[in-house]
């Protein structure tokens, strides 16, 4: 005989899990702010475009690092792969249409990610970290060597990117088209990542990050999931790289180096990894600070950055959003994933 009990799925836990993906009131804000920026600061759209691109790059890294727990210092390999794909195709007049060029950049990044992921993700820890550095270094040196195709150290400039939809030209001085274009691409990619992260697949990535042994013990095909995640992350990084090449109308080795890979890692950690919005917070905070400080006092900037990183590693592992959560958290709440 069954007594009518309230359905178990009405419990707090079930409701929290069921509603985790629902849009919160503040989620449209970053996008509205980004649009407002377009109108409010027309002279800074070049800078704004760079920030948006780094946000996308950081989101890509967050998938691999924040959600799946793959510690990598070589993510610029995919960024550069995308950038050089656009650059080389455009410079040689083979392909200059921006949107499809971007798709090709994403494919290039994804292929490099798939190839390296299949091979590297058999290892872990220091070995994996070092192999990500090697892969990126491999691409960087190859780009340096194949100067005929890649422009070598100087890179390729004055890329003849066609106007968007044949109408909106990429203005090198004011970057207005670039800004809106990148914002639109970023928005689409963000929606994609947000969906992925809240899906059961995304949940399983968190499981892999939290306890890989347990994931094996519940029958999850861990390595396959990691490779898929890594490939998607690489494709998104490739798109970011492609955007960079299109927006700047040039590409050079800076898209492939340790400097860029370390910067995106710092950005993500500063904002808070594994939190979806950490990439946005981190990119804005870092780029703004860098824009003002690093040119004035480059050495002091590096010193401050180093101290900041050490501080984060010791005291504030969750970055800015982590601090925010700690300040605003109510006790006994199920941790938002």
């Amino acid at each position: 005989m069954s007594v009518t009990t309230p359905s178990l799925s009405d419990s707090l836990a079930a409701r929290t899990l069921a509603g985790r993906h629902r849009l919160r009131w503040w989620e449209p804000l970053p996008w509205l702010l980004a649009l407002a920026f377009y109108f409010a600061f027309p002279r800074y759209l070049g800078f704004g475009t760079e920030v948006l691109i780094m946000i996308l790059f950081a989101i890509a890294l967050d998938l691999a690092l924040g959600y799946a727990g793959i510690v990598t210092l070589g993510h610029a390999a995919f960024f550069g792969a995308g950038a050089y794909t656009v650059g080389m195709l455009a410079k040689n007049g083979i392909w200059t249409e921006p949107i499809t060029g971007l798709i090709l950049a994403g494919i290039a990044g994804g292929l490099v990610g798939l190839a390296s992921g299949l091979v590297l993700l058999r290892t872990a820890g220091l070995t994996l970290l070092m192999l990500t550095l090697c892969t990126m270094g491999l691409l960087e040196e190859t780009a340096n060597m194949a100067a005929e195709y890649t422009g070598g150290f100087d890179g390729l400039d004055s890329l003849p990117i066609k106007p968007l939809f044949g109408v909106f030209e990429f203005n090198p001085l004011y970057s207005n088209t670039q800004y809106l274009y990148v914002l639109a691409v970023l928005f689409i990619c963000f929606v994609f990542v947000r969906t992925l992260v809240y899906s059961p697949f995304g949940q399983s990535l968190t499981g892999i990050r939290e306890n890989m042994l347990r994931m094996h013990a519940v029958g999850a095909p861990v390595r396959r999931r990691l490779v898929i995640c890594y490939t998607i992350s690489a494709a998104l990084a490739g798109i970011a790289g492609g955007l960079w090449a299109e927006a700047n109308a040039y590409v050079n080795l800076s898209t492939l180096g340790l400097d860029r890979a370390a910067t995106v890692l710092i950005i993500l950690v500063l904002g808070g990894y594994g939190r979806l919005y950490g990439a946005i917070v981190g990119a804005v905070a870092y780029m703004v600070l860098e824009h003002y400080l690093s040119k004035l006092y480059p050495t002091a900037w590096q010193l401050g950055l180093g101290l900041l990183l050490m501080g984060i590693a010791l005291f504030a592992r969750g970055g800015i959003l982590g601090i925010w959560e700690a300040l605003t958290r109510r006790p006994d709440r199920s941790k938002p994933s």
């Binding site: 799925s9 836990a13 969906t195 899906s199 949940q203 499981g207 347990r214 199920s334």
Partner: protein
Amino acid sequence: MTALLETRSLSKNFGALLATRDVTFALEAGARHALIGPNGAGKTTFINLLTGVLAPSSGDVLFKGRTINEVEQAERVKLGIARTFQINQLFRGLSVLENVYTSIAERVGAATNMATPAGTRRDVIEESMALLERLKLADVAHRTIAGLPYGRQRLVELAITLGLKPEVLLLDEPAAGVPSAESHIILDAIDALPKSIGVLIIDHDMDLVFRFAKKITVLVRGAVFAEGTPREIGANAEVRAVYLGQATHGS
């Protein structure tokens, strides 16, 4: 009775250390089997060999008559072999519900879905909550593992494994750390399992072992020392000597 999971002359050595010695063992469908032995007898090593965490040095592990030596851990789970760990292996940053959800989602194949939110799989949520209810964990379903008392965490460990609906269930000291007032929850949960499941328990709590088991295997220094019904084992003077020689505790 057909053997679901069996080993034939299974051996494992780490260098000079013989952890498992020529063990031939069978777990039938419907078995309620206990594996006991003094500390260091190699019981957990044996479970690791059964589940694929370790590869044998020689001998075979078979599932339903088929050799599975080369089959990886996750694959064995898909075949129907599940285990709990001696030390909890949980997703510490997630809630209790999310822990069980992860396990059930893998079983029903929901985890490959990249497009719809996890929260919309009401069936998985319902099943998770029902399982938690059975293990008296429903009231803490929303809490993160890290904040739970150890005994409760142990029950979550069991819940994750039960969520896999295995045909073979290997429990490594399931009651360790659970307050004795609550250890009946574990036995009740096992009693509620389908009769066709084969269950192997490792434990030091002799009350639990004798209440649960229909067959007991005694492992000493990696080899099978004795095997029989609880009555036979209880009356076996040699077994008692082995245990008295190594003062065992019930924990």
